[in-house]
């Protein structure tokens, strides 16, 4: 029966080719370090799911942000779990992405013909950093507030463009409701869109070029 439906669909949408290209593609004999990219992707999907769920209750305004987060963790069934996964997943994202990058450096996988894959990877890493930075403010507690004061000030010390950058990030002179709203907007719209764009390109290249083999000793 399921074979039947599979055939029916395949005839119309050709999913088997896609499936083969993604999951049954040939790969060289590699080690576990070569799974770090997939691990990052897995956590990214988790972050997407839990993040979407969090927006059901979270409200990005100074008078509600903190209370809505407390509500999620203490009142909503499973809320502590959803938020917990998102919270720890954020750290895992950064760690996994960096480890993945280290692996790519160590195995020289960034070399011809995979330079563009590397570039898109850099874009992805920046997006992940952006997620971490903007997401940190959203609970709107003391830690979040001061971390963002410091974080935006760090950007502010850049020569010449520092001050405009700081103002653009904060949406004005001070850290305010405007800052919270724009960090939220960046966190749930701008960055996910960016991430998807780079991720799509990244994955396309991984599939098109295949992954690199483990370099041999004598090279």
């Amino acid at each position: 029966m399921s074979v039947h439906i599979g055939d029916w669909l395949d005839e119309r949408i050709g999913w088997r080719n896609v499936w083969e290209a993604i999951f049954l593609r040939k790969i060289p004999k590699v080690n576990w370090f070569y799974t770090l990219g997939s691990a990052t992707l897995f956590v990214a999907v988790l972050q997407g799911i839990t993040g979407i769920l969090l927006t059901i209750y979270y409200v990005p305004t100074p008078d509600h942000a903190y209370d809505s987060v407390v509500f999620i963790t203490t009142q909503v069934p499973g809320g502590w779990f959803i938020r917990g996964v998102h919270h720890w997943g954020a750290s895992a994202m950064v760690i996994l992405a960096v480890l993945h990058m280290v692996r790519v450096i160590m195995s020289g996988s960034y070399k011809y013909p995979r330079e563009v894959t590397w570039f898109t990877g850099v874009g992805l890493l920046l997006a992940v950093m952006g997620f971490g930075f903007t997401g940190y403010l959203l609970p709107w507690d003391q830690k979040a507030y001061w971390a963002t004061i410091v974080g935006t000030r760090i950007a502010g010390v850049a020569p010449l463009i520092g001050d405009p950058i700081l103002r653009i990030m904060r949406g004005g002179e001070e850290l305010s409701a405007v800052t919270l709203a724009r960090f939220f907007g960046a966190h749930i719209w701008v960055l996910p869109a960016t991430l998807l764009l780079f991720l799509g390109f990244h994955m396309y290249l991984v599939i098109r070029l295949g992954i690199s083999a483990v370099p041999r000793k004598e090279e």
Partner: protein
């Protein structure tokens, strides 16, 4: 032989990956569903006697409007809500407390003295003095609250 072994291994891995994926999916899906529907399942459990005012304010034989504000916790926000309750007594001993919320779709009903009826402007419903439907779409009489009198003060039971 070799080929067969390969296929066995391949199938085993496919099943193992599928199983692990299913477990992860369930571990996420169950809390996610609870998370989304949770607040909808929550019922108010607390009951409270709310004081409306002195019984001397109630006119014999005509519904008298009492207003009171109650605090309501919705999500993380505490709001003050104004409640309007019509109190009717024929003898000054037994009280009927009627909610002014139309049982059709929730508009506010008003007591019209000339007609001796409650009137709902939304879909032209009429209720009689004790809240029974006279005409219009409402499916049941106006809701009643339990009442009690203590030290000549009138109380109604909210929630529960």
């Amino acid at each position: 032989m070799e080929e067969k072994d390969q296929l066995g291994r391949r199938n085993f891995l496919a099943i193992a990956i599928g199983a692990i994926g299913a477990v992860i999916g369930v571990v996420i899906a169950i809390p996610a569903v609870a998370y989304v529907v949770g607040p909808a399942l929550k019922r108010k459990t607390s009951e409270d006697w709310v004081r409306l005012g002195p019984t001397s304010k109630v006119e014999l034989g005509t519904p008298t409007l009492f207003k009171t504000t109650i605090e309501r916790q919705t999500g993380w926000i505490v709001t003050e809500e104004e409640l309007s309750i019509y109190i009717l007594t024929e003898d000054g001993r037994d009280y009927i407390a009627l909610s002014n919320i139309c049982t059709h779709l929730g508009c506010r009903v008003r007591w019209i003295t000339d007609q001796g009826q409650y009137f709902c402007p939304c879909h032209n419903a009429a209720f009689d003095k004790i809240g029974l439907v006279v005409s219009g779409p409402p499916p049941r009489p106006l809701d009643r609250y339990e009442t009690k009198v203590e030290d000549d003060q009138l109380y109604i039971l909210l929630g529960g």
